[in-house]
Structures are given as C-alpha cells and as structure tokens.
C-alpha cells in the first residue's frame, strides 16, 4: 500500500497536496497496489482527495498536532503507516516535507529519496526514482533498497490528474509524544503564491539599479498573476526580502515560466532556476550568459521592455 501525507494549510489543501496524491496513485498503479491518503489535524473536505486517486482517506486529529513539531508529525505518519501496513510513503518536498522525510526514514529504517521529479520505475524487485542533484545540473536515478520506502515530490514536477471521486474518511488513533517545539507565530504572505509553488515567476537582478525601480517588475507580475523573485546580490543589498532570493544558495524554483530581467545568468543563479519549463531573459547585453539557458530572449533596456511586455500581457488577458 502507498500512503500519501496530504498537508493542509489552515484546514485547506493546496496544489501540492493534489500533486502528491496524484503521484501516490500512479506509484500504486506501478506497484499493483492501492493508494490511501493521510491528513493530520482539522481538515475540511478531506474525502475530496479521492478525486486524485486516493481510495480512502485517513485522519489523525489530536491536540499534539496543533503546531508543527517534526517529531510528533513523524510519529503520526509512521504510526499510521505501520497500522495500515503501508510500504511506500509519499510526501511533498516542501518545508514541511523537508522536516519529515529524513525523520520518517530514520524511524522506519527505510531508504528514502528526497526531492523526486518522476513516478518510480518498478522493474522486477527494483524501485527506482529520479531526483535532481547538483542543484538541477544533473539527475540521479536512485534505487531504494529497503522494503519500506519514503519519497518526497518536488512541487510542479508532475501535472495534477483527476482519476476518481470523493471517498470516505476514517479516523485513526496513533500514540503521539508530547511536542518539544512550541510555535510562537506563523506568518505567510497573503495573496501571492509562495515561490517554491509558483507557476509563474518574474525576477529582477542588479540591472534594475535600485529598489525604487521595482515597479516595472511588480507591474508585470501583477498583470500575469506571478510571484516575484530576485538574484542574490539584490537580496544581499536588501533591495528585496531574502526569501525572494533564488539560486544555488537561495530558493530552488520549478515554475512553468521564469522571466528574468537585468540578471546576468551566473552559474549559481541558474542552479536554482534551470528546472523552469520556459525561461525568458531580458538583458541589454547580447553576450549575457543567461541567453544560453533561455528559451526566449529580448536584447534591450528592461526599463523599456518590461512596461511594453506588461501592456502586451494586459491586452492578451482582456482579449
């Protein structure tokens, strides 16, 4: 059995939860088994996960799960996996998942593949998954050798697919330890999609010259409904908040569209953005290295090109 941990934020599922359930259902199909989903805490409409291929949804609710403590969540997921006899556990490779994948693997003495990008290949007794390594500069096909396996899926790497309809939800009781971590506050930017989950990203570099010029980036992002990002020197100079910094030492992103303006395309920047499906580069220097990694390029002054592009997007959207 494949057990998928479907995370809810404030009681609601985001796209990442639909992606992992889709992934779990495809993994189960490859193994000739079933996919069930696990939700923790109060979740609205948990049975809806059936639409993405879960044959059943289980829920563990307990006061210990109110704030995020990786030890408690690990005990809940591992406990459920053991009760249900699940052999493959699937999570999202997001901040929650990164706190859990390793703990779960250690607790279950299981092999793990964190950050996979494709459905496992099951061949005879072999179970092999593809993950990005060297910050997206290569892929590794990792064979998991243990009976129990833990994998975490990178966001936006497989399309969400509907293959069923809503299913029943059953409560499970799992023994949980007392939390060691006390959550004091949780702050999330309202309205915009966080960078690791974003499908559309507009990013600015040192070519913007200063924080006061960010209007041209924000206007295009607003017109597209995109999330904004930046290069490292921009965040280091406090022109933009550090959570917008993408690249080798910042956030690694996987959007469908990455538009980079005034960014030269240093190898450490590319490392965090090269798994974008489509890359558009706007730079006044035709020799900028970023053009080699781009699908579409515009050689020109970003202060003229970006407003023109924003207008063109608005025209397209209203057509």
């Amino acid at each position: 059995m494949v057990l998928v941990f479907a995370e809810a934020t404030n009681g609601k599922f985001k796209k990442a939860a639909h992606e992992v359930v889709t992934y779990g259902a495809k993994t189960a199909a490859a193994l000739g088994s079933d996919c069930v989903a696990l939700t923790l805490g109060n979740v609205e409409d948990a049975g809806d996960l059936g639409r993405f291929g879960a044959t059943k949804v289980y829920n563990v609710s307990a006061p210990e799960l109110a704030g995020f403590d990786s030890g408690v969540f690990t005990a809940a997921i591992a406990g459920a996996a053991q009760q249900l006899g699940a052999k493959v556990i699937v999570l999202s490779h997001n901040s929650t998942g990164k706190n859990l994948t390793g703990r779960l693997a250690a607790r279950l003495d299981a092999g793990s593949a964190p950050g996979v990008k494709a459905v496992p290949v099951v061949d005879g007794g072999k179970f092999t998954v593809r993950k990005a390594v060297f910050s997206g500069k290569a892929f590794a096909d990792v064979e998991i050798l243990t009976d129990t396996k833990v994998v975490s899926l990178v966001g936006n790497s497989i399309p969400v697919e509907e293959s069923g309809s809503a299913v029943g939800v059953e409560s499970l009781t799992v023994e949980l330890p007392a939390p060691k971590v006390k959550v004091l506050s949780t702050k999330r930017a309202e309205g915009t999609t966080p960078l690791p989950e974003a499908e559309l990203v507009v990013s600015g570099g040192r070519g913007l010259k200063g924080p006061e010029n960010w209007g041209v980036i924000n206007d295009l992002a607003d017109a597209l409904g995109a999330t904004t990002a930046c290069s490292r020197p921009v965040a280091d100079s406090d022109w933009r908040p550090h959570h917008e910094h993408v690249g080798q030492t910042g956030v690694a992103i996987h959007p469908n569209l990455y538009i980079a303006a005034g960014i030269s395309g240093a190898i450490q920047h590319l490392a965090g953005v090269n798994s974008s499906k489509t890359i558009v580069v706007i730079n006044k220097d035709p020799e900028a290295p970023f053009f080699k990694a781009a699908d579409y390029g515009v050689v020109g002054d970003l202060f003229e090109v970006l407003p023109r592009l924003t207008e063109a997007v608005k025209k397209f959207k209203s057509a």
Binding site: G71, S95, P114, K137, A138, L145, T146, V298, L309
Partner: protein, 244 residues
Amino acid sequence: MKMLVCVSKTPETTTKIQLTADKTDLDKGGVQYIMNPYDEWYALVRALELKEAGGGSVTILNVGPADNDSVIRKGLAIGADDAIRVNSEGGGSLYIAKQIAAQAEGYDIVFFGKETIDYNGSEVGAMVAELLGVAYVGEASHLEMNGNVATITRDIEGGVEVVEVSTPLAISAAKGMAEQRIPNMRGIMMAKRKPLNVVEPVDAPSTTEVASYELPPAKSAVKLIDPENMDELVRLLHEEAKVI
C-alpha cells in the same frame, strides 16, 4: 554550551557537471571541492557566534575519507575548537546519519546545513534528530539562545514561523543565520595544531544506491524577440510554450 557542526564536502559552486562514460558517477577530473556553503557560512558561523557570546565549545564532524581533512581544517581555521572525522567512504544519507548519531550524544545543539549542494537531500539532519530522539527545526534563518531555550525562525512556504524549543536540539541552517567568515592567517596557523580525531564507522547498511546519473537535455538555441514587439512574445508564450 556544547555544539556540534556537521559539515560535508561538495564540488565548488561553479563546477560544470560531467559524468563518467558509464554514467554511474560524476567525472571528478578537475573538480574543486569546498565545504558545503550552508554548513560553512551559516551553521558553523552561528555556532561560533554563540560560543563567543555565551561560552562552550564547537566541534566539527565529517563522515568521509582522509581527503576531506582539508575541508575540516578550514572549519578549524574559521574557529572551531576540534574536529571528528568518521573514516568512511559514505553509503547514503541514513548511513551517514547513523555515523553522526553515534558521535552526537551529549551535545546541546547539533547543527546542519539546510542541504548539501551536491545531493540536495535536506534529510540528514532530520534523520539524526530522530535517531537521537531530539527536536529538529529545519531551514532555520535565525537562532537566539536564552539559557537552554532557543528561539528559532524557520522558513516555510511563502513566510516564516517562529518557534521555541529547549536543548538538546538539532537545527538546519539557511541563509540569514549568520554571515560568511573568511579564515585569517592566525586561524590557519592555529588550525594545524587543533585536534582532528579520526574514528571508525559503526556498522550500518546502505538503504539507497544511485543506479545512474543523467545530464539534462541541452537547451535549443534561444529565440530572440524584437524588443519593440512584446505582443509576439506573449503570443509565443501562449501558443508555443503554452505557459500563459
């Protein structure tokens, strides 16, 4: 406070990745190695700052072969007191975590980097925390200590969470924790005399194996668009790339 900083060795960030002919390994010819940036810039430096402010000790731990001693010495030159190397060629994340856990008893804080920039696992720290039965806070961008209570800011999707936790604990460090320190001449000289203890690994099986590597397909040549004609770019993004 007794602190342990786990460091790994990774290819330098500008490395062009090339594979051996049978694709089972990285072609190591000409590759320069460094200390994993998250381990060096953020984890190690924050541990040193806490020691400078409140006393205690900072020990570096690496699981790896004798080649790694140069990276360990760099950590000593930056300011760690001593180091342990578990003499091993490695055997996957859980193997490494078990080696670390075998050395990590008795420390108040065990520091990790948010991820290694070669394997990009983000999992060894969490594994060690589970093996030791201690709290784990991943992707931490701030850490303040007040006695044995840590206040930690951790990065979450699109925001931050502030948590409080008592030692012993394990933490993985992300950008924001500290600023990179460059070792000075005195540090480099002193590092030569600091203890680097080599210990043998404990028994643990490999749980994963990389069957092969592959390079991403080469990008086809960039399509240049007339800067006056952004309608054309929008049309291509819609009709050809199908991303808007």
